[in-house]
């Protein structure tokens, strides 16, 4: 008798859990412009420029996720009302999810650059030289075309097998959760614009590229502490960051956008 009661109790628990996960869709979208963000739940990736922007929105409750993808997942399930993220990343999320869209309104332009340790001007200059040369010979433009525009996937960068590796290892700290700049491919290797660019830079300068994938908020501390030589993670140049690391010349210009549910 008591055994049956207990069993029934467990079944009810299990059933209600199943029902909970099945019923009810996300609430209707209420964000149609930047102004609508006031007082809403806004998702961001911790430590990104979207995080900084969201903090400035009046009365908004900012939910800081470890990964932009988790913020997007929460948005789809109606746990938050909007996500602020970099344009290119937003596009790649929208491509894979047909129930979300990017609002036309944009935030101010920002520049991506490579971060190096504050006292390592030599490396900064070296990288600037490489970026300049690779822009002049069209390599960077090709890499860019491989990730955005009409010719995606048609210009993959081939690592030069015959390039010199005399200068030894160059460790790149990144957070491979940020497509198309860096993400994991089907085999689990880190790929993306930043990776191709750094491969080109290393081929040009004679380094051997070593990629260290970590949490986004650990990228700059890794550079500061010398655990990594460079931080390349779609890092926007901001005043706060410039106090702690040196930035090279910018290699991409982008801005933050708002993702919302379609309905």
């Amino acid at each position: 008798m008591r055994m049956n009661k207990l069993f029934a109790g467990f079944s009810v628990l299990a059933l209600s859990a199943m029902m909970l996960s099945g019923c009810g869709g996300p609430p209707p979208n209420k964000v149609h412009s930047k102004d609508d963000l006031k007082g809403k739940n806004v998702g961001v990736q911790l430590g990104t420029t979207g995080d900084t922007l969201a903090e400035d929105i009046e009365n908004a409750k900012v939910e800081k996720y470890n990964k932009a993808a988790d913020a997007v997942q929460a948005l789809k399930q109606g746990k938050i009302d909007a996500v602020i993220v970099d344009l290119e990343t937003a596009k790649s999320f929208v491509e894979k999810n047909n129930d979300i869209r990017v609002l036309d309104e944009e935030f101010a332009d920002e520049e991506y650059a490579i971060a190096v340790k504050l006292d390592n001007q030599a490396l900064q200059e070296e990288l600037n030289g490489a970026l300049k040369a690779l822009t002049e010979d069209g390599t960077l433009q090709d890499i860019k075309a491989n990730y955005e525009g009409d010719e995606q996937g048609q210009h993959p960068y081939q690592v030069k097998t015959n390039a010199s590796r005399d200068k030894g290892k160059l460790t790149m700290a990144t957070n491979a959760e940020f497509p198309p700049y860096e993400s994991h491919d089907d085999n689990g290797s880190v790929v993306g614009f930043d990776v191709d660019m750094m491969n080109a830079v290393c081929d040009y300068l004679g380094y051997e590229l070593h990629i260290d994938d970590m949490q986004f908020e650990s990228v700059l501390p890794a550079v500061q502490s010398g655990k990594a030589d460079v931080g390349v993670a779609g890092l926007s140049v901001t005043e706060d960051r410039q106090k702690n690391v040196l930035f090279t010349d910018n290699y991409a210009v982008t801005h933050q956008v708002i993702i919302v549910r379609k309905k």
Partner: protein
């Protein structure tokens, strides 16, 4: 940068210490309620398991309990947390703190269950038999004779479980809960100075654990007051 300057930058400027203070509140809230849920679940499962082992009754509940123990102890708590947040409560609007309480409580329950079962089984079977031959039924014997001795035996292990749980809640940041660890992470993400925020977070956890250990020590002494020395 001098120490006083970095203290100012990390904690005082922009009232950043609030991230730690609010985080501590959240961490303590989640821990307290998760411990309560874990204890209830754990004792329930332990009683079912030990009853089955000693009397061969409650076979089906015992099977369910064993399934629960296998699944919960066999998977990492972060994964359980994410599954509860994104899968089980996927389209349900529910407070994240509640999700964390459920996840950590259910997780802790599995460990508490095995600790308490160990305590119950450690009480000599003669105690149970003595109780039964004095005319008490199984339930009365458990409540008045076995459990009081069992609980006293497992108190240090339960205290240990509370400490583990407190520290395990540091992964709550995965579902964007601003707990103590995440508070430190947020400060780090603003100031990019890893040293002080991490140290401060560690120190706060340590203080909480030391206080907790002291309290359990007092409780243990009180419970031991009528022991033979």
């Amino acid at each position: 940068m001098s120490l006083s300057e970095s203290i100012r930058q990390n904690f005082i400027e922009g009232d950043r210490w609030r991230y730690l203070a609010d985080g501590l509140k959240t961490t303590l809230f989640i821990t307290v309620f998760a411990v309560m849920l874990g204890m209830v679940l754990g004792f329930l499962v332990a009683i079912i398991r030990s009853t089955y082992l000693r009397t061969k009754k409650l076979l089906i509940p015992d099977l369910i309990c064993r399934l629960y123990l296998t699944v919960i102890r066999g998977t990492p708590v972060v994964v359980q947390l994410l599954i509860i947040y994104f899968v089980i409560f996927g389209s349900v609007q529910i407070s994240k703190t509640l999700v964390a309480v459920i996840a950590f409580g259910v997780n802790s329950g599995a460990y508490v269950a095995e600790i308490v079962r160990g305590g119950i089984m450690s009480v000599d079977i003669g105690q149970l038999e003595a109780g039964r031959s004095l005319g008490l039924n199984y339930r009365q014997t458990m409540i008045h004779i076995v459990m009081p001795q069992a609980v006293k035996n497992v108190l240090p292990a339960l205290c240990n479980e509370c400490i583990v749980l407190l520290k395990e809640t540091s992964v709550a940041g995965y579902i964007a809960i601003n707990d103590l660890t995440r508070g430190g992470d947020i400060i780090r993400s603003i100031t990019f100075a890893p040293f002080l925020p991490l140290l401060a977070v560690a120190l706060i956890y340590l203080i909480v654990v030391v206080v907790l250990t002291k309290l359990v020590g007092i409780l243990e002494r009180r419970l031991a007051a009528n022991d033979r020395r």
